[in-house]
C-alpha cells in the first residue's frame, strides 16, 4: 500500500476529484494547506507572497494502482499543455497497515 499526497491548485481540485471518481478511485481526503515551493513564492510588484494557498489530496492505494492515480492527477492538475510553476507536487510514501474501523478488519 502507498500513500499519495498531492499538493495542487485549489481551482483544480474539482476536476481532479471528478476524474478520480470516474476512474474508480473514490476514496480521497482533502485538506487546506499553505506553502511555498522551489520558486520561493510569488512576487507581484514589490510584494512577495510566500504562503500560497493550496489543497492537499491524500489517498492510500494498492501498489499496482499508483501509476494510474499519479497519471490522472498529473493530467488534470496541470495548467495549460506544458504546465506552469505552482501546479504542485506529488509525494508517495509507504503505508504498513490499514484498518477499517466499522468492521475492524485489516486491509484497504
Amino acid at each position: 500500500m502507498l500513500m499519495i499526497r498531492s499538493i495542487i491548485r485549489p481551482e483544480k481540485v474539482n476536476t481532479v476529484l471528478t476524474e478520480l471518481m470516474l476512474a474508480g478511485f473514490p476514496a480521497v481526503t482533502k485538506m487546506d494547506v499553505y506553502g511555498r515551493g522551489k520558486q520561493k513564492g510569488v512576487k507581484v510588484g514589490d510584494v512577495f507572497y510566500d504562503e500560497i494557498p493550496k489543497e492537499m489530496l491524500l489517498m492510500v492505494v494498492n501498489d499496482e494502482d499508483k501509476d494510474d492515480v499519479i497519471k490522472i492527477i498529473m493530467r488534470n492538475a496541470r495548467t495549460g499543455e506544458k504546465g506552469q510553476f505552482g501546479d504542485g507536487r506529488i509525494f508517495v510514501s509507504p503505508v504498513l497497515e490499514a484498518y477499517t474501523i466499522s468492521t475492524g478488519k485489516k486491509g484497504l
Binding site: M3, P94, E97, A98, I101, S102
Partner: protein, 127 residues
C-alpha cells in the same frame, strides 16, 4: 517508530481523546479534513429528488448534486513506538466503532527519525 493516522467521525473526537489518554497516548494532533470513501453516492438519485421538487432548490440542494461532494471528518495523527501500534489501533477502533459505513480508516506509516525542538536532540521519547 510508527505514525498512526486515523480518519474518524467529528462527534467521536472527544471519546477518542479520552480513550487514548487512558491507554497511555496523551500526545496527538487533530485536524479538520474533508473526504470521501469507497461508498460512492448515486447522484442520479439525488437529481431525481431535486426534479420531483421534494428537496428545495437551495444552495444546499445544489451542493448535494455536485459530483465531488466531500464529507467532513477529523484526522488524528499520533507517533508511537513499534510495539505500541497494536494497542493504539485497538484503542481507536474500540472508541470509534459503530458498525456503520463511514466510521473511518486507520493507516500505519513508518517514521525514521524524530527530533525534539526544545533540546535539538534526536529524542527517543519526543512524542
Amino acid at each position: 517508530m510508527k505514525e498512526v493516522m486515523a480518519f474518524i467521525r467529528l462527534n467521536k473526537v472527544n471519546q477518542t481523546k479520552s480513550a487514548l489518554a487512558e491507554n497511555g497516548f496523551p500526545a496527538f494532533t487533530c485536524r479538520k479534513v474533508l473526504g470521501r470513501g469507497k461508498k460512492s453516492v448515486d447522484f442520479s438519485l439525488v437529481e431525481n429528488i431535486l426534479q420531483e421538487g421534494e428537496l428545495p432548490l437551495s444552495p444546499l440542494g445544489e451542493h448535494l448534486t455536485e459530483s465531488t461532494r466531500l464529507i467532513p471528518k477529523r484526522v488524528i495523527t499520533l507517533i508511537v513506538e513499534d510495539d505500541q501500534v497494536e494497542k493504539a489501533v485497538e484503542t481507536i477502533i474500540r472508541a470509534n466503532q459503530t458498525g456503520n459505513k463511514g466510521d473511518g480508516k486507520i493507516f500505519v506509516l513508518p517514521v525514521q527519525e524524530n527530533y525534539q525542538i526544545r533540546t535539538g536532540e534526536v529524542a527517543v521519547d519526543a512524542y
